[in-house]
């Protein structure tokens, strides 16, 4: 095994609690209860250990991180550890007062999710009346404070025709960056797959629209786009390679190579309550399970893209083929690719199954 890589990013899931009910929630089916959440002191230790390990960016996420009353202390601790501190929020549950306190604590960046450009549709998708307005208010406060803002759009069949309107909205909110992310089917989102799935024609139009928007708004806003998995020819290099670039700490302190890793039942995760982060990164069975590319079977084993996409996503391989070591079936070279094509063609018009705690 080559020298152990150093992680760059830490996703800190402060809580699984969230006021919204988004049908595409990527959190696992079994949410961790409030009583199991790490306290601010433990997070502080984790941030210091992460910085010593090489981590540069920390993403304070959830659930809705605003559900934590000690969010400001946690953010201050992250900054004190020297980490670039990003808040990933739904915008609901964080008051303008808290936003100011976070700014004072040294928060570096805010990411707010927007469900749609149309208020009624946005609130329907979030399963929360008034969410759209609240998100606007919070985004406006962040910008007023001088914090850089990223707007995150999760794209699926109900809003895929309005990407251009959503980019206009992000510009109106004075976002400096926009992240256009097609739904990825893990956790709760898997329950709503057929209801969320866009058609192939919609995806083709959306990809072209994003390219056009990039040209149109060059220099005004950075547009980052995550490709729609099920309609791709090649898989994504999930989390930049397993145990290579990033780690994820759940509300109760379990450390995962990616936020969906708990969907692979054979993995054993260590907890920050029992082990130092450095020990977990180097030695926990879950991190070493799929490090590198040696475990990959054909067609990856002889593929020149092996070091580009690392065989794709381990969770997706498991969820769609039953084998976490298999080539991600999103890849057109996978023997299971037909299954993905088949699933991508299933669109069902039915009510969402909202996520409720």
């Amino acid at each position: 095994m080559a020298e152990l890589p150093k992680p760059l990013g830490l996703l800190a899931e402060l809580t699984h609690r969230c006021p919204l009910g988004c049908p595409y929630c990527s959190n696992p089916l079994a949410l961790e209860p409030r009583d199991d959440e790490l306290d601010a002191g433990t997070w502080s230790r984790v941030f210091k250990e992460a910085a010593a390990l090489g981590v540069l960016h920390v993403h304070l996420s959830g659930g809705e991180p605003g559900a934590r009353r000690d969010l400001v202390d946690i953010a201050a601790n992250a900054r004190e550890a020297g980490l670039y501190t990003n808040l990933i929020t739904s915008g609901v549950g964080i008051t303008t007062r808290t936003m100011r306190d976070l700014w004072e604590a040294g928060l570096d960046h805010v990411q707010v999710s927007i469900q749609d450009a149309d208020a009624v549709s946005a609130d329907r998708i979030a399963g929360y009346r008034g969410a759209f307005q609240r998100k606007h208010a919070l985004a406006a406060e962040a910008v007023r404070l001088g914090l850089p803002l990223t707007v995150n759009l999760v794209v699926h069949r109900a809003n895929i025709e309005r990407i251009s309107d959503m980019v206009d909205l992000a510009l109106k909110l004075k976002a400096s960056r926009i992240e256009i992310a097609h739904v990825q089917y893990y956790g709760w989102a898997l329950k709503n797959r057929a209801v969320l799935m866009p058609t192939a024609e919609q995806v083709t139009r959306a990809v072209a629209a994003v390219e056009e928007l990039r040209r149109k708004h060059h220099g005004k806003i950075v547009i980052d786009a995550v490709v729609p998995d099920y309609h791709a020819r090649f898989p994504k290099p999930c989390v930049g390679g397993w145990g290579r670039r990033s780690l994820n700490v759940t509300p109760s302190g379990r450390v995962l190579p990616c936020h969906a890793a708990e969907s692979i039942p054979e993995l054993t995760f260590w907890n920050v309550r029992d082990h130092a982060l450095e020990d977990i990164w180097a030695n926990s069975p879950a991190f070493n399970a799929f490090r590198g590319t040696d475990f990959l079977p054909a067609p990856c084993a002889s593929c020149e893209r092996r070091e580009v996409d690392f065989g794709g996503c381990r969770c997706q391989a498991f969820l769609l083929t039953g084998d976490a070591r298999a080539t991600d079936p999103v890849c057109h070279l996978s023997p299971h690719h037909a299954r993905v094509v088949e699933l991508a063609a299933v669109q069902q018009d039915a009510p969402y199954t909202y996520r409720r705690m």
Partner: protein
């Protein structure tokens, strides 16, 4: 902000909120951090960026670096301009 092709002498370059220069021992040196982006800063770039605090003028930064590196002012001027304009275009610096 209009894209400039030169930096005026009395400009006071600064890293905007959300862009931060930090020294990471574990990563082996200085890095410039921005939303979802990391740029390794070589020792010279780090010396330049450390001075972009919004207080010192561009001319003063060039003067100081010419002294520190004991190099011709004209060359330092060209190098600093190139770095700062490149960063400004990526919105990683305000000039």
């Amino acid at each position: 902000m209009a894209e400039a092709d030169a930096i005026v002498d009395d400009a006071k370059p600064r890293l905007p909120r959300g862009v931060r220069l930090t020294n990471s021992e574990a990563q082996g040196g200085w890095v410039l951090l921005a939303p979802e982006r990391i740029f390794k800063a070589d020792p010279i770039a780090a010396e330049i960026l450390k001075r972009c605090t919004g207080e010192a003028t561009f001319a003063a930064i060039v003067d100081e670096l010419a002294t520190v590196f004991n190099a011709p002012r004209q060359r330092i001027h060209a190098d600093v301009s190139k770095l700062l304009l490149g960063l400004a275009e990526k919105k990683l610096l305000e000039v």
